[in-house]
Symmetry: C2
Subunit: 308 residues, 2 copies
């Protein structure tokens, strides 16, 4: 065996009230990567995605992770990575995290699972630096662990897996760009204590909701009073999407990451389909192109889908 194929899921970070700490992995969309060990040293990148990706391993998210693996292990030879990405860069559903975590997990499988999940997180965060300029775990944590993950601390890393509830997820990805720098810039440096207390009351209740598998509790604990009130201004259609989703019976949702994708939870696939259609309708009316997904929470994270 010298080739592994992995599927790396999209993910939602900044889950509701859990700004900067809570995220979850999606069953759809996901990326596929095929990784092969080579006698030749260094990283060879092949792109079979329907969009361009940086060809220089130093500038490519997956490439950077594989370089870190080579450096950390000191093994001979190199890697050839074939990238079949389906998660669109800039969608806000963890495209770079899938590239980073997918490469890390694939390399780990090829090398006989020498890394712990926390080590994989560290390697994947090296890749996230390329995409966002920062070592952040918001999407790589759910992408590696699967399910719902709570980042209690990054230094040292303390990732708490939370049992995913039986929820359906509707995602709409409108085709415009929200710059991460803008999404950061609109946030206040300080939060009123009263709002902060409300937020951590909701975070606590959200975690309880997942443990109890209680969709209503999850729904009413989603409210983000800290980031969403400022960030929604960057996303045309936000209010309309939120209202339309609620009218169709969605439990609650918000901005995925820093957008532009928006997500909503529902109790049944039928409702989630109607919610996705209502979200789509908003952007059709606004004349903005979009993709929608109706999916569930991915419980396992990056998965080795084949090896030969």
């Amino acid at each position: 065996m010298n080739t592994v194929i992995v599927h790396a899921p999209g993910s939602v970070s900044n889950l509701g009230s859990g700004f900067d700490v809570l995220g979850f992995a999606l069953n759809e969309p996901f990326d596929e990567f095929a990784l092969r060990r080579t006698e030749q040293s260094g990283i060879t990148l092949i792109n079979e995605s329907p969009f361009e990706l940086p060809a220089d391993p130093e500038q490519n998210v997956s490439g950077r992770v594989l370089l870190a693996v080579l450096q950390k292990t000191g093994i001979d030879g190199g890697f050839e990575l074939t990238q079949r990405k389906r998660i669109l860069p800039g969608s806000g559903i963890g495209s770079s995290a899938a590239s980073a975590a997918g490469a890390a997990v694939a390399a780990n499988a090829l090398l006989g699972n020498i890394f712990s999940k926390v080590e994989l997180l560290g390697l994947a965060m090296e890749g996230e630096v390329i995409a966002s300029g920062a070592r952040h775990a918001d999407n790589v944590a759910p992408c590696i662990w699967g399910g719902v993950t709570l980042i209690r601390s990054l230094d040292p890393p303390d990732i708490i897996p939370i049992p995913p509830a039986d929820l359906f997820v509707s995602v709409v990805h409108p085709q415009f760009e929200v710059k991460t720098a803008d999404a950061r810039a609109v946030l206040k440096r300080d939060v009123p204590l009263k709002s902060a207390v409300q937020q951590w009351g909701n975070v606590g209740a959200l975690i309880a909701g997942f443990y109890r598998n209680d969709p209503e509790l999850i729904g009413r604990s989603m409210a983000d009073v800290v980031a969403e009130p400022y960030r929604k201004a960057l996303i045309p259609g936000f209010e309309e999407v939120t209202k339309a989703a609620a009218a169709e019976g969605a439990l609650g949702g918000g901005i995925s990451g820093s957008g532009p994708s928006l997500f909503q939870f529902s109790k049944t696939r039928e409702v989630a389909e109607r919610v996705a259609a209502a979200m789509a309708h908003v952007y059709r009316d606004l004349g903005i192109d979009y993709f929608t997904y109706v999916t569930t929470i991915n419980p396992e994270g990056v998965r080795v889908a084949g090896q030969y």
Copy 2:
């Protein structure tokens, strides 16, 4: 049956990172109240506690709750309440909440359990107004529900019971006063976003820790970066108590309510006894009188202990 006897537990609010939202009930100490229906209208108060209590029902925490019960139900006659309190007023372990919740639950039992827990909470908060000038639920919620409670919202009331973990609790009550007004005044009106995120990461992990019955996770998620750094200055011996408790193997703890009582969690009764002794030692050295308790989390809240 026209008399009920209830036991109303002490409680810890501002549990670790869960400032203003998380609390739990204690098995020790607790108050005893005997409530009797009378033909005579109004409230008669008898005090068999080892300290004075306001004799005017309007100014007495339990009295005010019973007046609210009379007003709400419009029943004929009145109540006679015998108060055998053991939780010292001003201790920071929910003395007024025990008076309020004890009276509410006792009246409810006498009247055939006509009130829901949320209604009992509303009645008990009427009593808390006497003690603190505000309708707050920080201690009455755990006192009524028992176990660990999360106050997700007060308007409308949304109390989430969290499964109590198998923990032992050491409490030291040093004999000095912390004025609630001072404890409020030292807090900042605004919190840096970074600290707020750290706090709600810890709150989420603390809730997960209780669901997982994971003492280590509970311990490392207790850190309060928002209130404790300011309030500890109001409590002589705080740093020494915290260090001494950790040295004896305590998992973590903090200020109970706004003090002066301090609490620590431990995994075994043996460790909790050593922790309490170490806490006591600090105050003995400081020449400050104190009480200590070694107890567990009370799972049921105010309990009807007898009726005749």
